[in-house]
């Protein structure tokens, strides 16, 4: 009978093992070029003060700034440098000290055609949060940060991440536990 056949089919579907996750991120897919996800660099000239560098980082809501001389990358200065080298230290007036005193000289860089997976491995191994992207003249053309890695994963798994409620639903569970 048709009805029984439909019920059997339904039961068969219910018994099936759930599919393997259809969405995967292969290493190959993390080989996207940095040009497709980097942001524009925020730069400051050598000779500018630490305070100016900090103010630029705050205004632009970024964690690191690139220090240049005539457009060529010389160093990187970030939040970590502020925490480890400046706060609580007798450094003097930060409005007078040039940024190059506390920047990291010749940071690890990447080029626009380099892929995200290489950048991720460098960040993890070196403990960097930012990698400047430069052209063949060593002029900054972009910046990639840990935040780009997170955004890339989320863009790849929007179904799994973006459809979540902002917080796990646990109030109801707690009420049950307490009852």
């Amino acid at each position: 009978m048709l009805y029984e056949q439909i019920v059997d089919e339904e039961l068969a579907i219910m018994d099936e093992e759930p599919d393997e996750p259809s969405k995967t991120l292969s290493a190959h897919e993390i080989q996207v070029p940095l040009r497709s996800l980097m942001r524009l660099p925020v730069t400051i000239e050598m000779g500018a003060s630490i305070q100016e560098a900090i103010n630029l980082m705050i205004e632009n809501r970024i964690g690191a700034i690139l220090v240049v001389s005539d457009g060529v990358l010389k160093g990187i200065f970030g939040e970590r440098d502020v925490l480890l080298k400046i706060l609580n230290k007798p450094v003097g007036d930060v409005a007078q000290i040039p940024v190059e005193h506390f920047m990291k000289i010749d940071p690890h860089t990447a080029q626009v055609e380099d892929s995200l997976d290489t950048a991720i491995l460098h960040m993890a191994k070196g403990g960097f949060r930012h990698i400047p992207v430069v052209n063949e003249l060593n002029q900054p053309v972009g910046m990639v940060s840990t935040r780009h890695v997170v955004s890339y994963i989320i863009d790849h798994f929007p179904q799994e991440v973006l459809t979540l409620p902002p917080k796990p639903v646990r109030e109801a569970m707690q009420a049950r536990e307490g009852a």
Partner: protein, 143 residues
């Protein structure tokens, strides 16, 4: 790396022990602890050891250096983010990613709930997620 990775609990990540300070601690003392242990954030607890707030490197940058405040004059309560968003270690990595993206956070306290009390037990950082992805890439390379 697939959707299942994201549905794994945060506790499966390789997490570091967090740094705790009590409310009322002076900011220079907190900065010392952050420098010594290379912590990107500290969890601030009240006298009952409940989570009161979080103080990050970013807070130090914006609220001390940006406002040209003398840290000697400040206690941690004045510049921490009070009652921060938190997750449980058993929540999924996807939740951590979602919260980091929505709130623009780099650190999320991990807590246990006891009725209305919230006790911190750890922190998950954006770096933990990065390292997780890097481990995956290393594994694939070796294969």
């Amino acid at each position: 790396m697939d959707a299942r990775t994201l549905s794994s609990p945060i506790s499966t990540l390789n997490l570091n022990q967090p740094c705790y300070v009590e409310v009322g601690t002076s900011v220079p003392e907190v900065i010392n602890l952050m420098q010594e242990g290379q912590f990107g954030c500290v969890l601030v607890v009240d006298s009952q050891q409940q989570l009161a707030g979080i103080l990050t490197e970013r807070d130090c940058l914006v609220k001390i250096m940006g406002k040209q405040v003398n840290p000697e004059d400040v206690i941690v309560d004045e510049i921490m983010t009070p009652s921060p968003e938190s997750l449980r270690a058993s929540d999924t990595i996807a939740f951590a990613l979602n919260l980091m993206q929505l709130g623009h956070y780099r650190h999320i306290p991990l807590v246990i709930y006891d009725q209305k009390d919230v006790y911190p037990v750890g922190v998950v950082s954006i770096k933990d997620i990065l390292n997780h992805v890097a481990e995956f890439l290393e594994t694939v390379k070796e294969e």
